[in-house]
Symmetry: C2
Subunit: 338 residues, 2 copies
Amino acid sequence: MATINDVARAAGVSPSTVSYVLSGRRPISAQTRERVQAAIAELGFHPHAGARALASSRTNVLALVVPLRTDVNVPVIMQFATAVVTASRTHNHDVLLLTKDEGTAGLERVAHSTMVDALIVMDVERDDVRIQALRRLKQPSVLIGLPEDPAGIVCVDLDFEAAAAEALRHLAWHGHRKVALVGPSPAVYKRGTTYAERFLTGFTIGSAELGLETMTHPCEPDREGVRACLADIDAQLPGVTALVVHNEEALRMVLEELQASGRRVPADISVVAVCPRDVALNMPLPLTSVDIPAHDVGGLAVATAMKLLDGRPTEPVRLLPPTLVERDSTAPPAVTAG
Amino acid sequence: MATINDVARAAGVSPSTVSYVLSGRRPISAQTRERVQAAIAELGFHPHAGARALASSRTNVLALVVPLRTDVNVPVIMQFATAVVTASRTHNHDVLLLTKDEGTAGLERVAHSTMVDALIVMDVERDDVRIQALRRLKQPSVLIGLPEDPAGIVCVDLDFEAAAAEALRHLAWHGHRKVALVGPSPAVYKRGTTYAERFLTGFTIGSAELGLETMTHPCEPDREGVRACLADIDAQLPGVTALVVHNEEALRMVLEELQASGRRVPADISVVAVCPRDVALNMPLPLTSVDIPAHDVGGLAVATAMKLLDGRPTEPVRLLPPTLVERDSTAPPAVTAG
DNA sequence: CCGCTTCGTCGAAGCGCTTCGACGGCCTCC
DNA sequence: GGAGGCCGTCGAAGCGCTTCGACGAAGCGG
């Protein structure tokens, strides 16, 4: 492997000049720069990451903590992860993958041993123990999600409260008065995953503001769970004309069960999904949906981390406004006798 | 941050002694070791990863290249990835996440800049350009998959040929004579993803050996694709009594379409799935399946990488034998007139 | 009791890079 | 036309760790 000294010799300059060509931290004449760059290309020089980290105390690596439990929606997690990786690359950073189950220890390990410049943490819970740990690190961190007390840590996420309100507004505008929320599985609520709670809050508030008759129901994402959920909804909110589904796994089954019970979407019942765009489009019929913009959130998380590293000012909490796209699963309610 | 010098001073020894306590490369008296360890604990010392990498030319980081395209089965990819991460941790390594779309450049970047000790590459295609690149690197690599010409690179994977044979053997043993393969989507074949081809090969050979009447059909994983696929199968292989499904996305829909067409599983038609265990168990009825042991394969990939790093001998290609577990979706064929 | 090995520890030399201060040479401005 | 600046480059000092050779002390056999 060529070193910076080899390059310097080949270009007839000093190592520090090569370094300055690379970093651009001092002016270098066009001539010299070209000679150096030619030497770099010819020797196939790549700076040694460890040496660089040692000398500059910058690693150009971000830690990304992902949950590995399977009761969260895996494809969505993966969308966030890939968004973070691609965004990091555009900022000339790489990504070190940590799993949530290493907990606090994993964060401290990579931070204390200076393996990463900053941390991005997904799937934070209401009062996640990891948050105090993050506060103590010298590296900045960005959460994807919104804990109870985010003081001192920057958070980015979709504004799930607004998302719920948006879904209800759309349905109300179509004339719906009786709307049910098919939520995530009970396990998700139990864990204190705040996006579920925030959506619920938004749903409740929106419902009150719009004067709707609503109910909410968690839903286990298997055939039985979906059936039970829909049955409960029919029992507790007879004449329901619209569903908001905040549960990717259950989505397809909800549609199938509605069909099985003889109800047509959207003629007999409207459905608004809360899910990534491609999920909404890959259903038997294209669903009206509030997008979960994993790509944007991931990109924003990385951009925010970069800001922090540069010492630029940053909003402590940044919630992206939801976008609802009307597709084929919503329509005005059927006019019924009664 | 405390350095090794701080620890040395606190323990009243030289820095090199601390280093030897940490690495165990030279004998250290129990007394000294304890004093050093106490100092380490007290100061919360973590060796600086960059400095360590620079001095030892070992980073204790593995690169993992995952596909980010969505036409592969995301949850399965994620299973591999988490398996690799957890296994790496047990070997005291971390994982740097690269995406396949950075291609050859990404591999070279992390290798040349000495960010990683070894590379693990998923989703290799028949004659993947990345393979030549890997051969040129000074770091060893392990492929999850099996390219055309694996010479010089170690590969691990499930033995998909044997898996197909195993599925057929099970069905033949039950007395089935007409069996169809519902394969991955055409895109997967087109890409030259070898596991699909290997399964197909095994299916064809097994079919001949067992004297079965079979056919194979790729399947687009949406409602229409599944319908078309099943219709083709019924047309081309009338009286088919069993299906082998090698397509996680389509699996649930296949079952539903069979039911919709009035066929009961396994009374009227048997189904063997090729998928991870948990997928087989989370279907409306527990499916007889050949497991895709993502966890084992990921773990093996890491273990193999460690072997290579230690200079221990390694089999060039290691294909894990498949395991078929009989559950509720297979039974002898119905006795019909004719 | 002497010389040889083994054990436990130290000191110093790097690993490859960044960065700070220094220093010529050139331009500019009065 | 000389003082003052800026531009472009160099040299050297580290960053924090590992590792090699060296060296006393202790243990052993003859």
